[in-house]
C-alpha cells in the first residue's frame, strides 16, 4: 500500500514538473460573459498556435463577475454583454476602454407538436405573449398571422432565463422598444421580474432549450448558436420594416450594419429598421484599462488581433457573427488609445 502510494506521488510529481515550462509563457487572464466563451476559446486557441509564447486564459464566470474581477484588477480584461455604465466606470481604479468584439442574436424557439411549418409572430404579439395577455396558441391574434397552420388549443408556457444573462438583456431591450407596457411594467435588464402567469425560469441556454424541447406548448428565447447547432424550430419574426425575418448570421449582421456608429454609450441595435435586419440582435464587449499595470503590449496585440479581420473570421465557425468592417475599424481605433 505504501509502495503504491509512493508510486502515485511520484507520477504526480513528474506531471507537475512537466507543466513548469508552460508557466514560463506570458499568460493573460480574462473573465466575464459566458456568451463570448465559445468564440474566445476558438480565437485564443488559434492565436496561441500562431504566437506560442502567449496564452490567454478566459473563463466564463458571467458579465457581472467579469466586471467585478476587472475592477479589482484580478484579471487583465473583462468581457461583458452590456457595457459598463457610468457608476461602474467610476468604481474602476483607472480609465477604461470598451470595445465591441462579437455579435449575436436571440431566436424564438417553440414546441408545438404536430405543427411543422415555422410559426410567424409580429413584435407586438411576441410582447403580449411575454406580458401574459395572450395565453393560448390558438388566440385570434396568432391565428391571423398563421392562416395556413392548424394551431392547437394549448396554453402557452413562457420560458425565460432564470440566471442573469446578456441574452435576456437583449430580449428585454427588444421588448421595451416594441411595447410601451413592457417598458413601464418590467423594463430592460439581465434579470427582470417576468410578468406572465405561466412563466417558468430555466438556468442557462441549455435549460431554456431543454425546457422548451420537453414541454408541449412552450416558447422561449435561445442564443442563435444553439438553434443552429441543435436544429431547433424557431419562429419567423416581423421586423420594423415589415419583412418576415429568420434568425441567421446574415440577418443579425444586417441589423448591426444599420447602425455603424455604435459605442459603449449607444449600443442597442434591437428592433432594427434595416430591411433584412433581425430585430433581436446585440453586441458583446471587452473592457480593458487604458493604462494596464502589466503585460500591456501583449494585451494590445491580442485584442487588436481579435477585433481585426483575422480574429473575427473565427466567429463564423462557431456560429457567431463577425463585426461589420466599419465597427472593426472603430474598435481598433479605440484600442490604440491604450498606453503600452
Amino acid at each position: 500500500m505504501i509502495r503504491s502510494l509512493r508510486r502515485c506521488c511520484c507520477s504526480l510529481a513528474v506531471v507537475a514538473a512537466m507543466t513548469l515550462p508552460a508557466a514560463a509563457a506570458t499568460q493573460l487572464t480574462g473573465a466575464g460573459s459566458s456568451f463570448d466563451y465559445p468564440f474566445f476559446s476558438k480565437a485564443f486557441y488559434i492565436y496561441n498556435q500562431k504566437n506560442p509564447d502567449i496564452t490567454v486564459n478566459y473563463q466564463s464566470i458571467g458579465s457581472g463577475g467579469g466586471i467585478a474581477q476587472f475592477t479589482a484588477r484580478n484579471v487583465d480584461f473583462g468581457a461583458t454583454d452590456v457595457p459598463m455604465n457610468a457608476g461602474e466606470l467610476a468604481r474602476a481604479p483607472g480609465p477604461v476602454l470598451q470595445i465591441p468584439v462579437t455579435l449575436g442574436g436571440a431566436a424564438i424557439a417553440y414546441n408545438l407538436p404536430g405543427v411543422s411549418a415555422p410559426i410567424r409572430l409580429t413584435r407586438a404579439v411576441l410582447a403580449d405573449i411575454y406580458l401574459g395577455t395572450i395565453l393560448k396558441w390558438n388566440d385570434p391574434q396568432i391565428a391571423k398571422l398563421n392562416k395556413s397552420v392548424n394551431l392547437p388549443d394549448m396554453a402557452i408556457i413562457v420560458v425565460h432565463r432564470s440566471d442573469g444573462s446578456g441574452t435576456s438583456y437583449i430580449f428585454t431591450d427588444f421588448l421595451s422598444h416594441v411595447s410601451a407596457e413592457w417598458k413601464s411594467k418590467v423594463g430592460t435588464g439581465k434579470s427582470v421580474s417576468w410578468p406572465a402567469p405561466s412563466s417558468v425560469g430555466a438556468k442557462g441556454t441549455e435549460g431554456v432549450a431543454g425546457q422548451v424541447k420537453s414541454t408541449p406548448g412552450a416558447i422561449g428565447y435561445v442564443e442563435m448558436a444553439y438553434v443552429v447547432e441543435n436544429h431547433m424550430q424557431a419562429a419567423t419574426l416581423e421586423n420594423k420594416a415589415g419583412k418576415w425575418i429568420d434568425c441567421t448570421p446574415e440577418t443579425v449582421a444586417a441589423a448591426a450594419a444599420s447602425k455603424p456608429e455604435v459605442s459603449a454609450t449607444n449600443f442597442s441595435i434591437v428592433d432594427s429598421s434595416a430591411a433584412g435586419g433581425y430585430p433581436i440582435s446585440g453586441y458583446s464587449w471587452v473592457v480593458v484599462y487604458k493604462k494596464p499595470e502589466a503585460r500591456a503590449k501583449e494585451l494590445y496585440n491580442v485584442l487588436s488581433w481579435l477585433v481585426g479581420s483575422q480574429g473575427q473570421e473565427n466567429a463564423k465557425s462557431v456560429d457567431y457573427v463577425p463585426l461589420p468592417r466599419n465597427v472593426q475599424g472603430a474598435a481598433a481605433a479605440t484600442l490604440r488609445q491604450m498606453q503600452r
Binding site: 507543466t19 487572464t29 479589482a72 438556468k203 441549455e206 442564443e223 448558436a225
Partner: protein, 289 residues
C-alpha cells in the same frame, strides 16, 4: 392448550409483519440502488462515446477543433482535492477527538451545532467566503483558495461522522489501553482511532464524493484554466467546472465531453471507494494477525 394456540397465531402474525417489514426495507434499498443505476445508465449512454485516451490526457480544444480532453481538469482535481484533504482531515479529526473526549457541556454542544449549521450553507456562499479570505487580499485566483472552500464543505461530514465512529469504539478498548499505562494521547492515536478507522474512511469518502462534483465554489476561487497548471498559487482547471461549462453550452461535441467528464467523476469515486475498502480489509487482517 388454547393458550399455546393463541401464542402460535400471535407469533405467526408477528412473523408476517416482520416479513412485510423486511420486504419494505429491501424495496427501499433497491430504490436507492436502482436510482443510481438509472442515472448511471443515462450518463453512460450520453458520455461513454467521449471517453478515450485523448480525452484523459489532452488539453481542451475549442469548438470545431476535433479531439481535446480534460487532462488539465483531472490533474487540477487531484491537486485541489489533495490539498483539501490534507487540511480537512487534521482539523476534522482533532475536533472529533475533542468532541468525543469532552462529550457533554455547552462548548462541545456549541461546536456540534456550528458543524450542523455549516453543513446547510450553500456551496456558493462558502466559495464567496474563500474569495473574501484568499483571493481578494492576494489579488489573484488560486487553486489553494478552492482547496480552502472544499475543506469547509468537507468538515461537517468529517467531524460528525468521525465523532460517531470514535464514540462507538467500546469503552473497554480505551480503558484497556489506559490500564496498560498508555497516556491518553497514545491511547487515542494508537488504539482508538485505528479501531474507528473503517467508519472514518467512509466519512472521508462521503466527503470527497460530496465535493468532487461541486462547481459553485470554484467559480471565484480556482477560476479554471485551458492550460496545464500545477502551481496551487495560480488559477487551475477543475474537472467539475469543465463539466458544468460544457454541459450548459450549445455544442453537441462539448456536451458529449461534459457527460464523459461526469462519468469520470463518478468513476473516480467508485475506484476510491473500492480501493479504500480493500486497503482497510488488508489492514484489519494485519491487525488481527
Amino acid at each position: 392448550m388454547a393458550q399455546s394456540a393463541f401464542k402460535h397465531r400471535n407469533l405467526a402474525r408477528r412473523r408476517i409483519v416482520g416479513g412485510v417489514g423486511v420486504g419494505l426495507a429491501l424495496v427501499c434499498a433497491m430504490i436507492g440502488a436502482a436510482s443510481l443505476l438509472v442515472i448511471l445508465c443515462y450518463v453512460i449512454v450520453q458520455g461513454a462515446g467521449a471517453l478515450n485516451r485523448d480525452f484523459l490526457t489532452q488539453l481542451p480544444h475549442p469548438v470545431g477543433v476535433p479531439g481535446g480532453g480534460v487532462g488539465n481538469g483531472i490533474l487540477g482535481t487531484f491537486i485541489i482535492l489533495g490539498i483539501a484533504i490534507v487540511m480537512a482531515v487534521p482539523i476534522g479529526l482533532l475536533t472529533a477527538i475533542y468532541l468525543s473526549l469532552f462529550g457533554r457541556g455547552p462548548i462541545p454542544e456549541a461546536l456540534r451545532f456550528l458543524s450542523d449549521v455549516l453543513s446547510g450553507v450553500p456551496s456558493i456562499a462558502i466559495g464567496l467566503f474563500a474569495y473574501a479570505v484568499l483571493v481578494a487580499p492576494l489579488k489573484h485566483f488560486s487553486a489553494f483558495s478552492a482547496s480552502f472552500a472544499f475543506m469547509m464543505l468537507m468538515l461537517p461530514l468529517l467531524v460528525r461522522t468521525s465523532e460517531q465512529a470514535i464514540r462507538s469504539v467500546p469503552q473497554t478498548v480505551r480503558e484497556g489501553a489506559l490500564a496498560l499505562g498508555m497516556s491518553n494521547f497514545r491511547a487515542t492515536v494508537r488504539i482508538v482511532i485505528p479501531t474507528a478507522m473503517p467508519a472514518i474512511i467512509t466519512a472521508l469518502l462521503l466527503a470527497i464524493a460530496r465535493v468532487i462534483g461541486e462547481t459553485a465554489p470554484l467559480l471565484f476561487t480556482a477560476f479554471g484554466s485551458q492550460f496545464w497548471e500545477s502551481n496551487p498559487n495560480r488559477p487551475m482547471a477543475v474537472l467539475a467546472l469543465q463539466v458544468f461549462t460544457y454541459a450548459i453550452s450549445p455544442y453537441p461535441s462539448w456536451q458529449a465531453q461534459a457527460w464523459g467528464g461526469a462519468l469520470l467523476l463518478i468513476g473516480a469515486v467508485f475506484v476510491l471507494s473500492l480501493g479504500a475498502r480493500l486497503m482497510l480489509r488488508r489492514a484489519m487482517r494485519g491487525l488481527e494477525a
